[in-house]
C-alpha cells in the first residue's frame, strides 16, 4: 500500500467516524447542551432507539431543560426518567402504540396512574388513546384520586368520542374550581357524560355541542 493509499484510507475513516458521531446525536441538541451533557443524553437516545422507543419526547425534554438553564445532571436525570416511563408505557399499552400514545401514557404514569389501568384502557378503546390518557392524567393532576380518575375514563373508553372525553375532563375541572370535591365531581360528571353518549348513540342526528 502506497503512502497515498494510506492517507486516503485514513481520511475516509476519519470522515466516516465524524459523520457517524454527528448522526448519532440530534442536531438540535448540539448547540444547546454542553459536551458532557450531550454525550450522556446521546447515550440515552441511542438506548431508546435500540429499544424502539420514541426519541422525540426525550429530545424535547432535554431541550426544555436547556431552555430553562437547568443543571446538566438534572437534564440527564429527566431524560433518563422519561425514557423509563416510556418503556413502562409501551409495555402496558402494547408495541403497536403510537409515539403520541406512549408520550401520553408516560405522563399518566408520572401522575401515578397504574400501568394496569393503561392496559385496560387499551383493551376497552379501539380509537387512539392519546386524548383519553391525557384526560386521565389531567384529572389526577387536578386532584382526582388516580383510582377514581381511571374508573371514570375506563367507563367512557368504549363508547365516548375524544371530544366527549375532553368535555368530561373540562366539566370536572370546572366543578372542582367551583368547590366540589374532585372524586365527587368525577363521579357525577362521568354519569352525565355516559347519559349524553347513550343519547347521542340513540339519536345520531342530534347536533354536537360546538
Amino acid at each position: 500500500m502506497t503512502t497515498v493509499h494510506r492517507v486516503a484510507s485514513l481520511a475516509l475513516a476519519a470522515t466516516l467516524l465524524v459523520t457517524g458521531v454527528a448522526r448519532a446525536q440530534d442536531p438540535r441538541l448540539l448547540h444547546r447542551l454542553d459536551s458532557t451533557t450531550l454525550a450522556a443524553v446521546g447515550a440515552l437516545l441511542d438506548s431508546a432507539r435500540t429499544a424502539e422507543l420514541p426519541v422525540e419526547p426525550l429530545v424535547q425534554r432535554a431541550l426544555e431543560g436547556a431552555a430553562k438553564h437547568a443543571e446538566p445532571d438534572r437534564i440527564v436525570a429527566a431524560v433518563r426518567r422519561l425514557a423509563g416511563e416510556l418503556g413502562v408505557a409501551r409495555d402496558a399499552l402494547g408495541r403497536e402504540s403510537s409515539p403520541a400514545e406512549l408520550d401520553a401514557g408516560a405522563s399518566a404514569l408520572r401522575a401515578a396512574v397504574r400501568p394496569e389501568d393503561l392496559t385496560l384502557l387499551r383493551q376497552r378503546r379501539t380509537q387512539s388513546l392519546t386524548v383519553a390518557l391525557a384526560a386521565l392524567t389531567d384529572l389526577v393532576v387536578g386532584g382526582v384520586p388516580p383510582d377514581s380518575a381511571a374508573a371514570a375514563v375506563l367507563a367512557l373508553a368504549a363508547r365516548a368520542r375524544d371530544d366527549q372525553i375532553a368535555d368530561f375532563r373540562r366539566a370536572v375541572e370546572r366543578d372542582i374550581a367551583l368547590g366540589a370535591t374532585p372524586a365527587a365531581a368525577a363521579a357525577v360528571r362521568v354519569d352525565a357524560t355516559l347519559h349524553e353518549v347513550t343519547n347521542a348513540a340513540a339519536n345520531p342526528n342530534t347536533p354536537r355541542k360546538p
Binding site: 481520511a11 459523520t19 448522526r23 442536531p27 424535547q60 431552555a67 384526560a135 389531567d138
Partner: protein, 178 residues
C-alpha cells in the same frame, strides 16, 4: 515558363486577396442554425464533457482537507428524522394561547412544538400591554409549554393543566385531539 507561371500565380493571389462579398444575412443564418440545435444537443455536449475520464492529481493534505470539509458539511446539516418532519396542514389544529402579563416588554410561547426556542414564537400584546396572545397550528398529541416573560421569567398557563415539573419551573400541557 517561370515568368508565365509567376504571373498566373500572382493573379490568383490577387484574386484571392480581393474582399469577398458576403451575404449580409449570413450571421443571422448561422446563429439560427446554432439555436436550432436546441437544448438537447447542447446538453449532450455537456454530458460528454462530464463523462470524459480525466486524471486528477491531489496532494494528501488536500485530500484530508476535502474529507474534513465533507464531514463538516454532513455534521452541520440537520438530520432528517420522521419525527421532525413538519406535519401537513390537514393534520394540525390552530390553538390560541393567552396570558396576562401587564408591563411585560416581551412574552414568548415556548414548548415542544418549537423545540423550546424562545425566539420562534413571540406573543403580541393588546393595546393596554396586558393581554398577550398568539395562535399556532399544533399536531395531534399532548404538548408541554410555558410562557417566557422578558426572556427570564417562566410562567405556566393558568388556564391549562400543569405539567409534571422536572426543572423547577412551571410548565403546562395542551392536548390536541386525534
Amino acid at each position: 515558363m517561370f515568368e508565365h507561371d509567376d504571373d498566373a500565380l500572382n493573379r490568383m493571389i490577387d484574386r484571392l486577396r480581393e474582399p469577398v462579398e458576403m451575404d449580409p444575412r449570413l450571421d443571422a443564418r448561422v446563429m439560427a442554425r446554432v439555436a436550432s440545435r436546441g437544448f438537447r444537443a447542447r446538453a449532450a455536449l455537456v454530458w460528454e464533457w462530464l463523462r470524459r475520464p480525466r486524471a486528477v492529481a491531489i496532494s494528501p493534505i488536500a485530500g484530508l482537507g476535502l474529507a474534513a470539509a465533507a464531514a463538516l458539511l454532513v455534521w452541520a446539516l440537520p438530520a432528517h428524522s420522521p419525527q421532525t418532519v413538519t406535519p401537513p396542514a390537514a393534520d394540525v389544529t390552530p390553538v390560541q394561547f393567552v396570558v396576562v402579563a401587564p408591563g411585560a416588554e416581551s412574552v414568548s410561547l415556548v414548548g415542544d412544538f418549537n423545540d423550546w426556542d424562545a425566539r420562534l414564537t413571540p406573543m403580541r400584546a393588546d393595546r393596554d400591554g396586558r393581554l398577550w396572545t398568539v395562535t399556532i397550528p399544533l399536531p395531534a398529541g399532548r404538548h408541554r409549554y410555558a410562557f417566557l416573560v422578558n426572556g427570564a421569567r417562566w410562567l405556566a398557563d393558568p388556564s391549562a393543566p400543569r405539567a409534571p415539573d422536572d426543572f423547577g419551573t412551571p410548565s403546562s400541557v395542551v392536548t390536541v385531539g386525534g
